[in-house]
């Protein structure tokens, strides 16, 4: 326990030292809003579950709700490649800390991947306890269900992180992940199959062996003993699985695993051609800067993962919506599929392309300040690199749409590309500022992001609505005037305004970089505490 206490104490000191320097007020405000919303959801749950008249609704909806919570906790972090805080085993393995203690801390840290769900479950628990028509098993049920989720999350995360650390296997795992993500939605989209398939998972008469069904039964006071046994069995199974995965992670040597997958032979001519492409199109030093970015990003596991996810997940997640033929949602996706997927891809890529442009190549940041190249040119090089990869992403999305014979015409192409272009201009503007003001070292070799810096996450929470506001205006114009031309006119005005904003933001970012270069380099070279965030 001394060691667990020491680790948490060191992490507390780390946060204490780090946050006051990095705008704690801003983080607190946005964190307050985000968790305030979830607390609101928890209060709604509390009111619903404490109301005896709502029991019929609760009976129908609770298993599905608990399944959704499980998915939010386990699957969404893997899909977003952001798995919350985690022990920095690279540093802690050198010390005499028993594996069991490290595992216990890792289990507790999984709360960070699903703290919103904990809030909602607390609301459900209190509500159920206050409901005279429900038995008092909710505390036990949600307690065990949370424990199950925490434990299984360790195993899933460790397994995925190890698999994604291996070259070649990483690609295979990735595509299996995509298939896994696609399957439920494809099933949902196929009408006629939906009801029986869904019933197996979420409705009252589903298989009672699922952990969410067992937890639901316990809360509702149905089949108490078997439900408790089922839930405990799942938790025990999760414990065995996660301990096994965790011990494998402790013994895992990522350097050796990577080396096994690397070819000792020469590099393909086409990849070398790709790397040299910027130098053939642009003069040095810009050409050299962009070529370096190409080489660096393509070799970064984190970038490759996000790049692949950008278009594949976008396509897979939104595709089934197109096949839902009736209703406003289906029609919306049929009309705007390409636009939606392009914007989704941009958002997913933004982490590696916009928000922390210097975080990935932290070691190069110092060179940029020393090299006889203006910082404006350095940033322009980074922006052009991002633009290039974004274009590849969007072209790939478009190609897949064409191959799938999606209902696309010139107007839809123009709309999707114009919206993407305007979004990109504003993302570049905000990204350049944030890359300087909130520079933060990131390990490009980590496929999974363990968690975003609180302040960066908080800033994005505020920045996204602002960057998307011009697009919203354009769509409002189309709605108000009932004309596609109005959309394009407003988008054109947005683009002009965006370019002015971009220029101002770039100048401001460069000035800030020159002024705060020391702090920026220090921030980029800083490591973490015992818990990586």
């Amino acid at each position: 326990m001394t060691q667990i206490g020491a680790i948490f104490w060191a992490q507390w000191r780390t946060l204490y030292h780090f946050y006051p320097r990095r705008g704690v007020a801003w983080s607190a405000i946005v964190g307050f809003i985000w968790y305030g919303l979830w607390t609101g959801a928890a209060i709604v749950m509390l009111r619903v579950f404490s109301n005896p008249s709502q029991i019929p609704v609760i009976r129908i909806a609770l298993p599905g709700g608990l399944l959704l919570m499980f998915l939010y906790w386990q699957v969404v972090p893997l899909m977003l490649a952001t798995t919350g805080s985690s022990l920095d085993l690279r540093k802690l393995r050198a010390y005499p800390i028993p594996d069991s203690q490290l595992f216990s801390i890792e289990v507790l840290l999984r709360v960070t991947a699903g703290i919103e769900m904990v809030l909602v479950l607390i609301g459900i628990t209190i509500g159920a306890l206050l409901n005279p028509a429900l038995p008092k098993w909710s505390l036990l049920a949600t307690g065990v269900y949370i424990t199950f989720n925490l434990i299984i999350a360790v195993g899933l995360r460790d397994m995925m992180a190890r698999l994604l650390a291996r070259k070649r296997i990483r690609e295979l795992v990735f595509f299996l992940l995509i298939l896994g993500a696609a399957l439920p939605q494809l099933v949902l989209a196929r009408q006629g199959m939906v009801s029986p398939q869904l019933r197996l998972l979420i409705t009252r008469d589903n298989w009672q062996g699922w952990p969410w069904a067992a937890a639901s039964n316990l809360i509702l006071g149905i089949r108490l003993a078997p439900s408790l046994a089922v839930l405990c069995a799942w938790t025990l199974g999760a414990l065995v699985f996660s301990r096994w995965q965790f011990s494998r992670t402790l013994a895992f040597d990522s350097d050796a695993a990577n080396a096994r997958g690397s070819k000792s032979g020469g590099r393909s001519w086409w990849i070398e051609w790709f790397y040299c492409l910027p130098s053939t199109l642009l003069k040095d030093p810009l050409g050299a800067l962009i070529e370096k970015e190409f080489r660096f990003l393509v070799r970064s596991p984190r970038f490759r993962l996000v790049f692949l996810m950008g278009f594949t997940f976008g396509l897979v997640i939104w595709l089934p919506m197109v096949f839902v033929p009736h209703g406003p949602l289906g029609e919306f996706f049929v009309r705007n599929y390409l636009t939606v997927v392009c914007v989704y891809s941009l958002m997913l890529m933004s982490e590696v392309c916009f928000w922390n442009a210097f975080g990935f190549d932290r070691s190069a940041a110092q060179f940029y300040f020393l090299a006889p190249v203006s910082f404006t040119r350095v940033m322009a090089g980074k922006n052009l690199t991002a633009l290039f990869f974004m274009l590849i992403e969007i072209v790939m999305v478009t190609t897949v749409c064409i191959l799938l014979r999606m209902p696309l015409d010139a107007r839809r192409f123009a709309e999707a590309y114009s919206v993407a272009a305007v979004v990109m201009i504003f993302l570049f503007s905000a990204g350049n500022l944030l890359s300087i003001r909130q520079a933060r070292g990131v390990n490009p070799a980590n496929s999974f992001r363990t968690g975003a810096a609180g302040q960066q996450q908080a800033t994005l929470f505020a920045v996204y609505p602002v960057t998307f506001a011009p697009i919203l205006l354009a769509y409002l114009a189309r709605y108000a005037f009932g004309s596609q031309a109005a959309l394009f006119v407003v988008l054109a005005i947005d683009a002009i305004g965006g370019l002015i904003v971009y220029r101002v933001a770039l100048d401001s970012a460069v000035q800030t970089a020159e002024r705060t270069r020391e702090a920026m380099i220090a921030a980029l070279s800083a490591g973490d505490g015992p818990i990586a965030d």
Partner: protein, 252 residues
């Protein structure tokens, strides 16, 4: 039994990265109470070896015994008796020097009050106490090495594993660290260090080993290793077979 065993006993140790052997059949014995210098050019396998000794990288094959205990089977017992000066990336940058030393002390099982008291004393000993609120991220390279060494001492280990402990340390700091290490050896501790600073190794170590391309090419007492060479540097270059004159480029 444990007291009589060598401090480090490595048998036929191999570490493969893909097809490449970073460490290739290393066999080495370091007796207890010895100040051992582990030398080699860049990429020779020094850091990989020390990582395997620290339990940070599993060997592909071979065996390691530290203080008479097998690694990794008894890794917890072994780690409890080891003081590490690892690669500086292993430090926690957002802690102050004092906090880091205290943290390490607590990880080694000292109670909080004792860990804090010893941390304060070590900070003063290593002349880091004048800026107690300074974060390790703000330390110079030499200060980082000093804080790492201070942390390695907090639980009075029997064996020190040190990766380039003098890298970036100024003359005064290096002198201080050398005195402390020699004192530890006098009190029976064993020190295994890698270093590029051959003058320091020559002055401190009684035994040295030279690793090249993963293989141990020479090992023995300092005097024997130096042989007829004027300095350890000459002997080192000769052992590596790199005595040819530096070539220059036409344009340079």
């Amino acid at each position: 039994m444990q007291g009589e065993a060598p401090a480090i006993e490595i048998r036929d140790l191999r570490k493969l990265y893909g097809d490449k052997a970073a460490v290739d059949g290393l066999t080495l014995t370091v007796p207890q109470g010895c100040f051992f210098g582990f030398l080699g050019p860049n990429g020779a396998g020094k850091t990989t070896t020390i990582k395997m000794l620290m339990g940070l990288a599993p060997p592909t094959s071979g065996s390691i015994q530290l203080l008479g205990l097998p690694m990794p089977e008894r890794s917890l017992d072994i780690k409890q008796q080891i003081g590490l000066v690892p690669d500086e990336s292993m430090l926690f940058d957002h802690l102050t020097g004092g906090e880091f030393i205290e943290f390490v002390g607590r990880i080694y099982g000292l109670d909080r009050a004792m860990a804090r008291a010893r941390a304060d004393e070590l900070l003063d000993l290593f002349e880091l106490g004048s800026s107690p609120k300074k974060l390790i991220a703000e330390y110079s390279k030499g200060m980082r090495k000093r804080v790492a060494m201070a942390a390695a001492l907090i639980h009075r280990p029997k064996l020190f594993l040190m990766d380039e402990p003098f890298e970036g340390v100024d003359a005064v700091g290096a002198r201080l660290m050398k005195d402390i290490l020699l004192d530890q050896v006098r009190h029976g501790a064993t020190i295994f260090l890698t270093s590029h600073v051959l003058e320091v190794v020559e002055r401190l170590c009684e035994r040295v080993g030279i690793i090249h391309e993963g293989k141990l090419i020479a090992e023995g007492l300092m005097a024997d290793m130096r042989g007829t060479a004027a300095t350890l540097e000459d002997a080192f270059v000769r052992a590596l077979g790199m005595e040819h004159a530096a070539e220059t480029l036409d344009w340079l």
